[in-house]
Amino acid sequence: MKKIINNPSDFVEESIQGLVISHPEIYSFANDNQRVIKRTSKAKNKVGIVSGGGSGHLPVFTGYVGKGLLDACAVGSVFASPSVDQIASAIRNGNNGSGVLCVLGNYGGDVMNFEMACEIVKSEGIETRMIIVSDDIASASNEEKLKRRGIAGLIFTFKIAGASSENGASLEEVYNLTLKANNNLRTIGVAVSSCILPEVGKPTFELENDEIEIGMGIHGEPGIKREKLRKADLLVDDLCKIIFEDFELSNSDKVSIMINSLGATPLEELYIVSKKVNEIFSKKNIEIVKSYVGRYATSLEMAGMSISVLKLDDDLKKALFDHSECPFWIN
């Protein structure tokens, strides 16, 4: 995979500079930190929603800064956590005087750094809560759901938290609704080919020509099993089985689904997957209220995709459909 880049060491800086210069009406740099992106039109008197994480996953994380989504975001190096400093700055910039909810994926470095940053800003008088998103079924058993990684489902939690805060909910209320979203969220993914870190220059992992890896993480962490590539319908059947085994969904349930490409896998394939997912859910009489199909959380140019399910109640549904403004989310 050939990359259209300059110096690998400038990869992150240049790409977020490009983001800000391309959409100045949405994104701005924080004044105090060039690895922090904040909303160009700062919100007032609402709970701030802040995220952060490694680069290489665009639109995750910083692409979701915008009205109705994130207020600020700390940008780490490729696949690496932002530093405590950067996160603390993001929290300060995302704070609108009503406390800040941090929404992040469950990765060791990120969690530790967010915890530390929260301690620091606490001493400055900023109240924070943390939602550690853990939607990846493959990364831990159901009993240990809290240890699961956060992957594409992250975006649902951004949207729910953002909408809830925009509607004037308190920090406690925003926290509770987002927690419910995280509890109602499951993702299972499959990788079919690796990506190449700009600084490393060779694939993170190798898969045989007829191999796929179920449950691979968005950094190329191994998944639960390596299997033979098979027809999309069979694969989707198996993935949905994994979801249903983990997550009881019944007849009258309403859900939103997200079919997410890890990067290279084209939309056509995602829609082939979405067709099958819709058929499977419809057979079970589970209503798909809304499907999101596209590149929402990527791993550079990795090929593969994930299926996310968010079970909705009235509050979550309202928050999902609420207005927002960002180039990567269509209402």
Binding site: G54, G76, S77, F79, A80, S81, P82, S83, V84, D85, Y107, G108, G109, D110, M112, N113, E115, M116, A138, S139, A140, E144, K147, R149, E199, V200, T204, F205, G217, H219, G220, E221, P222, I224
Partner: protein, 199 residues
């Protein structure tokens, strides 16, 4: 006796060792994680060495520089834990120019406390915490004429051996269950390899 000059020497040697072991660490981490442990260690040590001429007699300053280097260059668990540990060590060593045996025991103690607190790890989870605990025990057991190089090397090796056949209970590795029994924890492996440079 540990002082500024020894510290400079150690970090120079660590860097050259990290360069040599870069692929090995990445590969070990890649088997159960995201394959960046070599990057994390190399980047952090390079950044420390880039700042090594700022080292002062006051060891506290030096450990703070080391902490900042890891904060700046690493976003992975290992790097973050190391950064926090160096920071807490720095706080503890304020004004100190040398470390004797008891100080070194104290340093290891602080590192272990930090990792337990920040990493929410327990002894026995098969992580770098366990390697440190073997070092600590051996430091406590040997007070005179210690060859630190040998002690670090043998302790981290003992730790590796002691955990063969046990599951890794934390981090990305946890999900592999049985598979992790046969594998060394990449962090423990790295500490063992890196220990070969201590003088």
């Amino acid at each position: 006796m540990f002082n500024k000059l020894v510290m400079i020497d150690v970090f120079k040697n660590l860097l050259s060792k990290a360069k040599k072991s870069y692929d090995e660490f990445n590969t070990a981490d890649g088997k159960i994680g995201d394959g960046d442990l070599g990057i994390t260690i190399l980047n952090g040590l390079e950044e420390i060495n880039n700042n090594i001429d700022k080292f002062k007699d006051d060891l506290s300053i030096n450990f703070m520089l080391c902490s900042q280097a890891f904060v700046k260059k690493s976003g992975s668990s290992f790097g973050t834990l190391v950064a926090f540990a160096f920071m807490n060590i720095s706080k503890d060593l304020k004004g100190k120019n040398t470390c004797d045996h008891e100080d070194i025991i104290n340093i290891i103690n602080i590192a272990m406390e930090t990792i337990q607190e920040r990493g929410k790890t327990k002894l026995g989870d098969k992580t770098i915490l366990d390697s440190l605990s073997f070092i600590l025990n051996n430091l406590k057991a040997n007070k005179n004429n210690v060859n630190y190089s040998e002690l670090f090397k043998s302790s981290t090796k003992e730790a590796l051996d002691a955990f063969k056949g046990k599951k890794i209970l934390i981090g990305r590795a946890r999900m592999f269950e049985e598979k992790t029994k046969e594998l060394d924890d990449p962090g423990m492996l790295a500490l063992s390899k890196l220990s070969e440079v201590f003088k």
